[in-house]
Amino acid sequence: CGFTPVYAPGSTGAALDGTVEVVQSGGSLGFTLTEALQDRLGAPGSNARYRLTTVLGVTSERVAITTAQSTNRFNLIGTVAYTLADAATGQPAATGRVDGFNSYSAIGTALATGAAEEDAYERLMVILADKIVADLLVAPELAR
């Protein structure tokens, strides 16, 4: 039906499998995003052919606001501008921008809301990492 495996030998997937070093940037959340990307791209060992750098932006927005003007839910909106560069020459091989959102409930106690917020940020990093890797697997520049 015309579908071919992305990680078939010689394809983009294979080219990125265990060859990408993810550069840590952007504080605590950046650390979480870096780990999520590393989980998907594998450990490059010492022969990283590519370096992936990311610029992360996150905003929080009040959503479900009660008649008493209390906020019952927050949306977290994340955007990442990424650049996959050739480790040796530094030439960008693929660049792009992804965005995603999720939400957390703020109804419970301050403690529970704090835990829910922290968990929501970590989930958002996984959502963004999935989108970045999906973009990289089909990046036209890499397919050549």
């Binding site: 579908f3 594998g42 008493a68 959102f101 109804i107 403690l111 809301t113 999935d130």
Partner: protein, 693 residues
């Protein structure tokens, strides 16, 4: 340009022109595109006659003089000394801050510092034909511009709008725009709210040296509410401090001093750590919302340390919570919370993959010490994990993950549970995915990826109350996570299979649809999640995340949880639409089924939207709406109109909102702010004016 050797390059005056005539007695006449440079001042004119003996320069216009500090003077004719610092200019216009034009019949320049104009008309509005009255202007009998102090002094200033005199000031001092941190009044604004009535805010800025400043803003309203707002900023070599607060006496809480104070600072400290602190306090619960200072319903004061490096994160924070929510009382809430974590990731030798080591510490305390109600908890968690990923035959992707977690938990003031408990439990997962791609002829492609994960987590061996894991959420961010409980008091156990399908269709013209669907099938531990969380029972709710992009004009994002018979338990959508003429619409909608376990007693159905439309070059309109469909009430609606041209920015806004459940009628807030361009408002880029001819 070969300058004479005797005098240094700065003290010398240079003239460049098409033709220079020298006559016998030391007079020099330069004509044609004449430019004169002297000590940083540059002058352009049609003709310049230099009389060496008198050291005077006669200049024929049109003249444009630019001082080193950016002051611009236009004139028809002038007679100055050779250093262009002393003398008279006729038909002069002083241009300040690149925009404010101070025109006078005559201008005297003195001591390389003062520009003294008489019979002045000052405005930053573009006047196309002479004699046309500008939108606003200041007439004054005399204006003195002190270039060193960066101040402009108007005497007998008459402020006129569209030619009509509006008010008179015997003396007026205004910054000339060269120094952005000049003491003085900032743009005033008028505000009207139903409770406080009409009021005026007049901010006054006071710089304290180069590294600190204070802005004090009195806010007086007709309902006898008197407020003084303040902001203090201080910058250090390795950090900065910002403090904002206000003190009020009003008729809402008669007889009592009300106020708030927010202080936060962050500092770089040795060994690459960052230290931040944050204090938030207010006199009474409704104060912040009465004066629109903040819409927070929880105040958190905290001190925190953090260091993040490649492969290592160290964080610690001590937070004190203070709830402002009317629908909660504090005593059963933990008010003091401490968290610390150390995360370390290294590449595994041998088989490859990642090794993660984590150490997590936590405690929370309640003020009361009563049994159960006053429960306090503390915990230390150590965790070691390993994960690896392979590519098998036919492009199949395998990944394996194993983790061992040890907990030491202490529960005090709760007789239902052992006070000290320990637990050690392993968990593991294997994931199989098969990403497939089908490039389409026109350069687009389809991506299809089925994913299957089987995971098992042993029982933790700890029996505890649930303080921090009451708000459970399921989205594509934790569909394949080991533990979908957000906190430490609960951990997901049992055997389950997580299934997902990712499908994306992208065409070269920039239209892309990305779908992700998933579900959790649970073989054991079916009762650990609340029914409404979507994760309970043998099969979780269906999880769907759909993104639609049409180039950069439309981005639509949505996530949803549907139960077995496809009823929604949670639906959220966000829309970004770029319309014609640069108009923008952003909107988000949320629908959530009631979840008594998570203290949500009725459904939530709420739409929020905001739009901004540039109507003409100068006029722009904006609107905002927040509608609560469950209660059938528009909690917030706002309209704004702004007129901005090269010399003025007027912003008129009206907002209607409900402040509390008990409110029958909404409160309406009107706002008006007028800002004159050219008075040190470089921050606001005024659109340059154009003449229609």
């Amino acid at each position: 340009q070969d300058t004479a050797a005797t005098a240094g390059p700065q003290e010398v005056t240079a003239i460049v022109a098409d033709v220079v005539r020298i006559d016998g007695n030391e007079r020099l006449v330069a004509t044609g595109n004449v430019e004169v440079f002297s000590r940083g001042t540059r002058l352009r004119a049609q003709s310049v006659t230099y009389d060496r003996a008198a050291d005077r320069v006669q200049i024929g216009g049109p003249i444009e003089l630019r001082d080193a500090d950016g002051t611009i003077v236009l004139a028809d004719q002038a007679e100055l000394d050779s250093e262009l610092t002393e003398g008279i200019l006729r038909g002069a216009r002083l241009v300040l801050d690149g925009r404010l034009q101070v025109a006078g019949a005559e201008m005297a320049r003195r001591q390389d510092r003062f520009n003294d104009l008489r019979q002045v008309a000052a405005s930053s509005c573009k006047v196309c034909e002479t004699g046309e009255t500008p939108l606003w202007e200041i007439r004054a009998s005399r204006v003195i511009h002190d270039q060193d102090a960066g101040q402009v002094y108007f005497y007998n200033a008459r402020f006129r709008i569209a030619g009509v005199p509006v008010f008179y000031l015997p003396a007026l001092r205004v910054p000339d725009g060269t120094d952005p941190r000049v003491r003085g009044f900032l743009a005033p604004s008028v505000r009207n709210t139903t409770e406080l009535g009409t009021g005026v805010k007049l901010p006054y800025f006071i710089p304290l040296g180069d590294h600190a400043d204070v802005t004090l803003t009195p806010y007086i309203t007709e309902n006898q509410s008197r407020t003084l707002e303040g902001r203090f900023r201080r910058a250090f070599v390795n950090g900065d401090i910002l403090a904002e607060g206000a003190v009020s006496r009003d008729t809402l809480e008669p007889g009592s001093n009300r106020g708030y104070l927010f202080v936060n600072g962050s500092f770089a400290i040795p060994r690459d750590f960052t230290f931040t602190f944050n204090l938030e306090t207010t006199s009474d619960k409704p104060y912040l919302r009465d004066y629109d200072y903040s819409d927070k319903d929880r105040l958190d004061s905290s001190v925190a340390l953090s260091r993040v490096r490649s492969g290592e994160r160290i964080e610690g924070a001590l937070t004190f919570y203070n709830s402002l929510r009317a629908d909660r009382d504090d005593d059963d809430e933990p008010t003091l919370v401490g968290d610390a974590r150390w995360n370390r990731r290294v590449q595994a030798p041998g088989p490859g993959g990642w090794v993660d080591l984590d150490l997590i510490g936590h405690f929370h305390q309640r003020e009361s010490t009563e049994d159960i109600v006053g429960r306090d908890m503390a915990q230390i968690r150590g965790r070691a994990g390993w994960r690896q990923r392979w590519t098998g035959p036919g492009g199949l992707r395998f990944s394996a993950r194993a983790e061992l977690t040890a907990d030491l938990k202490q529960i005090t003031d709760d007789s239902r549970f052992e006070s000290t408990q320990a637990g050690l439990w392993p968990q593991g997962a294997v994931t199989l995915s098969w990403p497939l791609i089908r490039p389409s002829a026109d350069g687009g492609h389809q991506l299809l990826e089925p994913v299957l994960q089987v995971a098992h987590s042993a029982d933790t061996g700890i029996d505890t109350a649930n303080d921090d894991s009451t708000q459970v959420a399921l989205d594509t961010g934790n569909l394949f996570a080991f533990n979908r409980f957000p906190g430490l008091d609960r951990t997901e156990t049992g055997t389950r299979a997580n299934v997902a399908l990712r499908w994306s269709i992208v065409d070269p013209k920039g239209v892309a649809i990305r779908l992700t669907g998933g579900r959790v099938y649970r073989q054991s531990g079916r009762g650990q999640f609340s029914q409404e969380s979507g994760l309970s029972g043998a099969e979780s709710d269906w999880l769907a995340q759909i993104d639609l992009d049409i180039t950069d004009t439309l981005n639509f994002r949505t996530l949803a949880l549907l139960d077995d018979d496809l009823d929604l338990s949670l639906y959220e959508a966000r829309l970004f639409l770029r319309g014609p003429f640069g108009s923008l619409l952003t909107s988000n909608y949320i629908w959530q089924a009631a979840d008594t376990a998570a203290e949500l007693n009725d459904d939530v159905s709420e739409l929020a939207a905001s739009a901004s439309v540039p109507v003409t070059r100068s006029w722009s309109a904006r609107g905002e709406l927040r509608r609560d469909f469950t209660v059938g009430r528009t909690n917030y609606s706002g309209l704004g109109v702004a007129y901005q041209n090269e010399c003025i920015r007027v912003d008129l806004s009206v907002a209607r909102r409900f402040r509390a459940t008990s409110d029958v009628d909404a409160t309406t807030t009107y706002g008006l702010s007028v800002e004159l361009a050219g008075f040190g408002t470089q921050g606001r880029a005024a659109t340059p004016g154009r003449c229609k001819n």
